[in-house]
């Protein structure tokens, strides 16, 4: 909070610092500026090289690959829109997209809902950093570790959760081995892993809402539920939108927990897009087509992000 208060808004025109003062002494400005430019380029050289070599160039190259047949060992061959035509008729791709959308929907709806409830409850009950720290624990460990321990707890023979569920409901569930349960099980891992992190983000947002807002609401005779719906949620909107966008982007690219647990199975039931792209590229060495799918995924992510920001008017803050 202190940080955001002190720093300039993200607008790029925010020019502060030495200039303001020095502009009163034109002579000094000139000499310093010349030296500054040289030093500045020296300082940004690593970043610029990294950007050009590992972001800009690969992005352009990825675009190019998606119009080629490319099997890594032989040079890429231009084939125009052939990959895109294949994409449209590829039933596995559309199935993967459906699986991914299902996974994203479950992760986002339940994940954000639980995070919001947890953040609001914690904010009202306690300021304890220890509790917020504990719920963040799953965020610190890798997806692989999370996937392994959940797969173990959900193991049909020896898993503690399987045993518990069998005792309570009498049902024997296969979780990752069952085509109906594979995606919800994966979503459960993903929600478990990110819930605390999102709750802490929302919690930080709650802390920025001044108590006077609620006092005014109370004076106007608003009920608690009304204040939650009419004050808390709208004031939290920018941060909620950010959490939703981050969760969507993150779950659209889910890979590690799938690769460790189901590898896309059983029978493609959990074959998410990133898994399919990986299979195409490294299983079948079809880099051209895999690049086309990456491009499609990228376009979808951009479109979704922009739509969400539009819908939620994320850039406006009701607080100012």
């Amino acid at each position: 909070m202190a940080l955001s208060a002190r720093t300039a808004p993200p607008g790029l025109k925010a020019v502060r610092g030495p200039l303001g003062r020095r502009s009163q002494r034109p002579g000094a400005v000139a000499t310093h500026r010349r030296g500054d430019a040289k030093l500045a380029w020296l300082l940004i050289t690593p970043a610029v090289v990294g950007f050009l070599v590992f972001f800009a160039y690969p992005t352009v190259r990825g675009l190019y690959f998606s119009f080629t047949t490319f099997h890594i060992l032989t040079p890429a061959k231009w084939v125009g829109l052939a990959n895109f035509r294949e994409l449209i008729h590829d039933s596995v791709f559309w199935h993967s997209l459906g699986v991914t959308a299902y996974f994203v929907a479950v992760s986002v709806v339940l994940g954000v809902l639980f995070s919001l409830i947890t953040a609001v409850v914690l904010h009202r009950l306690t300021n304890s950093t220890v509790i917020r720290g504990l719920i963040i624990l799953p965020f610190l460990i890798s997806g692989v570790v999370a996937a392994l321990v959940w797969q173990w707890m959900l193991d049909p023979q020896l898993g503690i959760i399987s045993a518990l569920i069998e005792k309570v409901t009498g049902q024997h569930l296969l979780f990752f081995g069952d085509s109906h349960w594979a995606v919800p099980s994966l979503a459960a891992i993903s929600i478990w892993k990110s819930m605390g992190y999102n709750a802490v983000l929302i919690f930080a947002g709650l802390q920025t809402i001044p108590p006077t807002v609620y006092e005014a609401g109370r004076l106007d005779g608003a009920s608690e539920m009304q204040m939650f719906r009419r004050l808390t949620v709208p004031l939290l909107r920018p941060i909620l939108v950010m959490v939703v966008i981050l969760t969507v982007i993150g779950s659209f690219q889910v890979f590690d927990i799938v690769q460790v647990t189901t590898k896309g199975g059983p029978a493609n039931a959990s074959n998410v897009l990133q898994m399919y792209i990986y299979e195409k590229a490294f299983g079948e060495l079809d880099f051209g087509y895999a690049s086309t799918m990456s491009l499609a995924l990228f376009v979808m992510l951009i479109a979704i992000t922009f739509t969400q920001m539009r819908l939620a008017r994320a850039n406006e803050s009701d607080l100012s």
């Binding site: 300082l43 190259r61 802390q207």
Partner: protein, 311 residues
């Protein structure tokens, strides 16, 4: 749910606790919810511990025992490659071994070097973008920020091809280089902070004849210590847990990090009777550095996540 949020709204806005009754049914429900959340969050960690100290052969005899089944440290011995093959097999380990110590070293090298380099280079760039005046500054910055928009998936395959063409497969250089020079988020984050620093100390140093480079190292970097620590923590955690990039670049054990080795080990272990105890012991070793970081820097991590969200 409605009970929860409404009761929750009641208590908060007025922190004057004395005016409120100490106990209310709504509050009790809310506390129960918190306890359930904490149990669900922490139980898997306990389960890793419980399984890691169990004897894998004895596990099926009491699958829902809350304590280790037939307590032993054999699983850790297996995970660290200290057990003889006969000893390992007698406790239900497979003959295949996971050289945890070597992978652990790889993880430490990967995460430490990557974090140190990218945070330092980002601080350098952030200084140029916030404290120096030069032509084209804002334009260059805007272009670099575009990288925030590009998700990993678009650059992963071409970067793999690039690293392969450079002959850097299966090496730390190939693993680290793509992420070591530039991070749009880090540059943006540090620039925001440096923009807010007071200019007076810097100007005094200039008057005293200090060079810009000296000012960067002796004044700006120390003043930026807190956000740099925050970024280092987050970068270290992310790198330690990274899976996809190491999966593409490493195929032997020379540079393969532990996180990845665990996943691969799990897939190669027999479906029928996996060595869950050994696997959980290795998992614990993989997660341990994160848990230690958490014990030491827990408060900072919590606060920094709040920070990063509020910009």
């Amino acid at each position: 749910m409605s009970t929860l949020s409404s009761s929750a709204t009641t208590a908060g806005p007025r922190p004057a606790a004395g005016a409120r009754p100490r106990f209310s049914p709504g509050k009790a429900v809310a506390w129960i919810y918190v306890v359930v959340v904490l149990v669900v969050t922490i139980f898997p960690f306990y389960w890793i511990l419980r399984t890691a100290f169990s004897n894998n052969v004895a596990l099926p005899t009491d699958p829902s025992s809350l304590l280790p089944v037939d307590f032993t440290v054999g699983a850790f011995k297996r995970a660290l490659g200290l057990a003889s093959t006969a000893e390992a097999q007698s406790q239900g380990g497979s003959g295949a071994s996971l050289d945890t110590a070597l992978y652990l070293r790889n993880s430490i090298v990967y995460a430490t070097v990557q974090t140190a380099l990218v945070v330092f280079f980002s601080a350098m760039a952030a200084y140029a973008f916030s404290r120096l005046r030069w032509k084209g500054r804002d334009a260059v910055f805007t272009v670099l920020l575009c990288a925030l928009m590009v998700p990993g998936i678009l650059t992963l395959l071409p970067n793999f091809v690039l690293v392969r063409n450079l002959g850097l497969m299966d090496s730390f250089a190939g693993l680290i280089l793509p992420g070591a020079l530039f991070s749009a988020f880090n540059v943006f984050f540090l620039r925001q902070f440096m923009l807010g620093l007071s200019t007076e100390i810097e100007e005094a140093a200039i008057v005293d004849g200090a060079s810009r480079m000296r000012i960067f190292f002796k004044i700006t970097l120390p003043m930026t210590a807190a956000p740099i620590a925050t970024l280092s923590l987050l970068t270290f955690i992310n790198t330690w847990n990274d899976y996809f990039w190491p999966l593409l670049v490493t195929n032997g054990e020379h540079a393969r990090p532990l996180t990845l080795a665990l996943g691969v080990f799990k897939q190669s272990s027999p479906q029928a009777a996996p060595d869950w105890a050994g696997l959980m012991a290795a998992t614990l070793i993989a997660a341990l550095p994160m848990l230690v970081l958490f014990m030491v820097f827990g408060r900072r991590i919590v606060n920094s996540i709040g920070f990063t969200g509020l910009k």
